[in-house]
């Protein structure tokens, strides 16, 4: 069945027009990802208006191509200029830039490109194989479970704000509130329209996303008049050739790092809220800890490029797994992808893969094909990147603001959307300035109606609220939401407070309860394993005399 679907998907996207458009998409993504300050999410939302008139498969293949290109583009800027093109390539600069400065920019780029390729392919394979399985689990979800899953996604994303947990939660809740403006989806009554016909239609979700994310980011880029006048070429060397063969040899010697980092990327992507910006640091940290020569990290070692680049490309495969199987976006980029799917009248849900197998597999195959295209295009796009780096930031920002103006109007042909763009651009800028993270807010906007619809469905079945706490999956999501909300506090106090010694064991014990409740054979066994792990970690702490663990070098450096 899977093979048949894969064949059908290949036939669907294997026509010349789609392939050419995908090449353009990958090329555009590579450049967008390479320019610091211009994020992948921005590139996808700006591509969106171009895809309206296309068949869904073609339009989505282009969006996926931009996504894959964007994930890999960040390494060009990171390695050649020392400025990461995207947050997901921050760790690449730790060793990529020193290697380039040491006279091996071609090798550094080659390692980055081929690591990205490996990460992308591994995650594409997992995407094809895991998504249907996860969707099967998703079929067990009832409205109570979906509601709690949304709450969990928002809490986890907010908890990534670390010390600013309250600000993160406020941002998420404001996102939910924004989504309530206009007619409610359950019964069609007007809410918060204040007599305005425009507000009655609600805020267009894409206009809100572009405003909050792209518009505010562009203004942040040009905020400093001196930096706005600069171009990227004022830093680092950019005239190089990629050394493919030497890079492949280096990567083949370090296949374990590739595999481990890719898996870290995929599983970080599956978790709601945790995106490439976390995965690349996590993979780098793990590679350093596992290395026989950790002192070489930061000086230009290939391991330090392989780990972050494999993981950041694998992340979106993971995020797409959750998005395609459950309809829940894992991060801002996946949220934008969800917007793209919705615009093409595709509503991801646990039944989506079963009901629309060709379309679902077309997305998977597009991810796969785009990863190959990315490798082929890197050498050529490097030359384009050199040209783009000569453009001053303010010129790029002005032009993209102009594009935003045209693109947002084209979504619905409604002028009010442009006003939405402006107001949310201001809101996003102000929120960033005051330290409110935007990711929870964007997820709140995306997930708001999913939460309300499921709450409505749950109450239509029974007005009893106890299933929110007694159904196994709902309880599972509630428990991990609670523990993830406390996680920033745990991290902060890990070296100073005794209660933190019990945090992880208790998390294991708590999670095992809903797993036991799920019944069957596998899950209770899994619950038993989880309890054993919790008991072991408790025993280890007891053996060590309940001594608090000292902070690692990395954590100490982070705390300044």
């Amino acid at each position: 069945m899977i093979i048949e679907n894969i064949y059908a998907a290949f036939a669907e996207i294997g026509n010349v027009t789609t392939i050419i458009l995908m090449l353009v998409g990958v090329a555009g993504g590579l450049i967008a990802g390479a320019i610091p300050g211009f994020t992948i999410a921005m590139a996808i939302v700006l591509t969106l208006p171009f895809t309206f008139g296309m068949p869904p498969t073609q339009g989505l293949a282009i969006m996926v191509s931009v996504l894959v290109g964007g994930l890999s583009g960040g390494l060009m800027a990171g390695i050649l200029t020392g400025i990461p093109g995207t947050p997901s390539s921050v760790a690449t600069t730790f060793d990529g830039f020193p290697m380039a400065r040491a006279g091996k920019p071609g090798l550094a780029l080659g390692i980055g490109v081929w690591s990205s390729f490996c990460g992308g392919i591994i995650s594409a394979i997992l995407l094809v194989t895991l998504s249907p399985q996860l969707a099967r689990i998703g079929l067990e979800f009832n409205p109570w479970d979906f509601f709690m899953l949304v709450m969990f996604a928002l809490t986890v994303t907010a908890s990534l704000a670390g010390r600013n947990l309250i600000k993160g939660l406020i941002a998420g809740v404001v996102g939910l509130l924004i989504r309530t403006v206009g007619e409610d989806e359950a019964v069609g009554m007007a809410r918060f329209d204040f007599g305005s016909d425009a507000l009655l239609q609600g805020f267009d979700f894409i206009a809100v996303l572009i405003g909050l994310f792209a518009f505010s980011q562009l203004l942040r880029d040009v905020h400093d008049p001196v930096s706005a006048q600069k171009s990227l070429t004022e830093r680092g060397a950019v005239n190089v050739r990629i050394e493919h063969m030497a890079a492949i040899r280096e990567i083949a010697k370090r296949w374990a790092i590739v595999l481990r980092s890719s898996l870290i990327g995929v599983f970080t992507g599956i978790l709601p809220g945790a995106g490439g910006s976390i995965a690349n640091i996590l993979a780098y940290d793990q590679a350093k800890k596992a290395s026989k020569y950790p002192e070489k990290f930061g000086t230009g070692t290939p391991d330090g490029i392989i780990a972050p680049e494999s993981s950041n490309n694998a992340v979106e495969g993971g995020a797409l797994i959750t998005l395609m199987a459950l309809g829940i976006p894992g991060d801002v980029t996946a949220a934008v992808m969800l917007g793209a799917l919705l615009i093409h009248d595709i509503i991801p849900s646990p039944t989506f893969i079963a009901e629309e197998p060709v379309l679902a597999y077309s997305i998977f195959i597009a991810f796969f094909v785009a990863t190959f295209m990315m490798v082929g295009l890197q050498s050529f796009m490097l030359r384009v990147f050199v040209l783009v780096t000569k453009i001053r930031i303010y010129v790029l920002a002005s032009v993209i603001l102009g594009f935003c103006g045209i693109g947002v109007f084209a979504i619905n042909n409604v002028e009010f959307d442009l006003w939405t763009l402006l107001w949310f651009g201001i809101l996003g800028f102000v929120m960033r300035h005051f330290g409110f993270p935007l990711a929870p807010m964007i997820l709140g906007v995306v997930l708001g109606n999913i939460a309300e619809l499921n709450l409505s469905r749950a109450l239509a079945i029974t007005t009893d609220l106890t299933p929110f706490f007694t159904r196994p999956w709902a309880l599972f999501f509630l428990i991990i939401a609670l523990f993830s909300a406390i996680f920033p506090l745990f991290q902060e106090m890990r070296a100073t407070r005794k209660w933190t010694l019990f945090y992880m064991p208790f998390a294991y014990f708590a999670v095992s309860v809903p797993l036991f409740m799920m019944g069957g054979v596998v899950r209770p066994i899994l619950a038993g394993i989880v309890i054993a792990v919790g008991a072991f970690s408790l025993w280890r702490r007891h053996r060590d005399g309940w001594k608090l663990a000292p902070l690692s070098d990395h954590e100490l450096a982070e705390r300044g």
Binding site: V187, G402, F409, N413, A460
Partner: protein
Amino acid sequence: MGRLNRDAVIAIILLMACGILFWSTFSIRAPDYGQLKPSTWPRVILGLLTLLSVLYLGQSLRQGPAQKDEYDTYDAGKASASGLKGWLAHWRNPIWCYVLFFFYLITLPYLGSLIGGLAFVFTLMGVLGGWSPRRLAVHATVAIATVGGMWAIFTFGLGVILPPGEIFTVF
């Protein structure tokens, strides 16, 4: 204004907004059908937001001295003027972007997407990058090539009818 006061002010503004929006939920009509009234979900959200805002207010009042953030520090050495003048100088570029975009939207029905877009991008580049004759020429070329190109793709390639305006009408 220090961060302590600023955070407290934001929390108070949030609380006021919650109050106003909560009050407006009473004007949401409730149909005779459905278990979840249209006003219930917004009220749940507003209740949560009120609770979080109170916590935020408490946290901001408990916090110590203000911490400077990235925007406050980037040109701390260069800022000489204080008060409104200094604030305007500090936020010059973002303010210009918003003001020009605002004018772009206001004039859109008259100028249309093409002329308005060209004017917006050209003026913004001038404001951000300078008005020397060489730059003017570069900015004009970039604006025509990019906005004109984008407009042409949408109008002729994708068949999207962008606002034509009153001055220049294609269709």
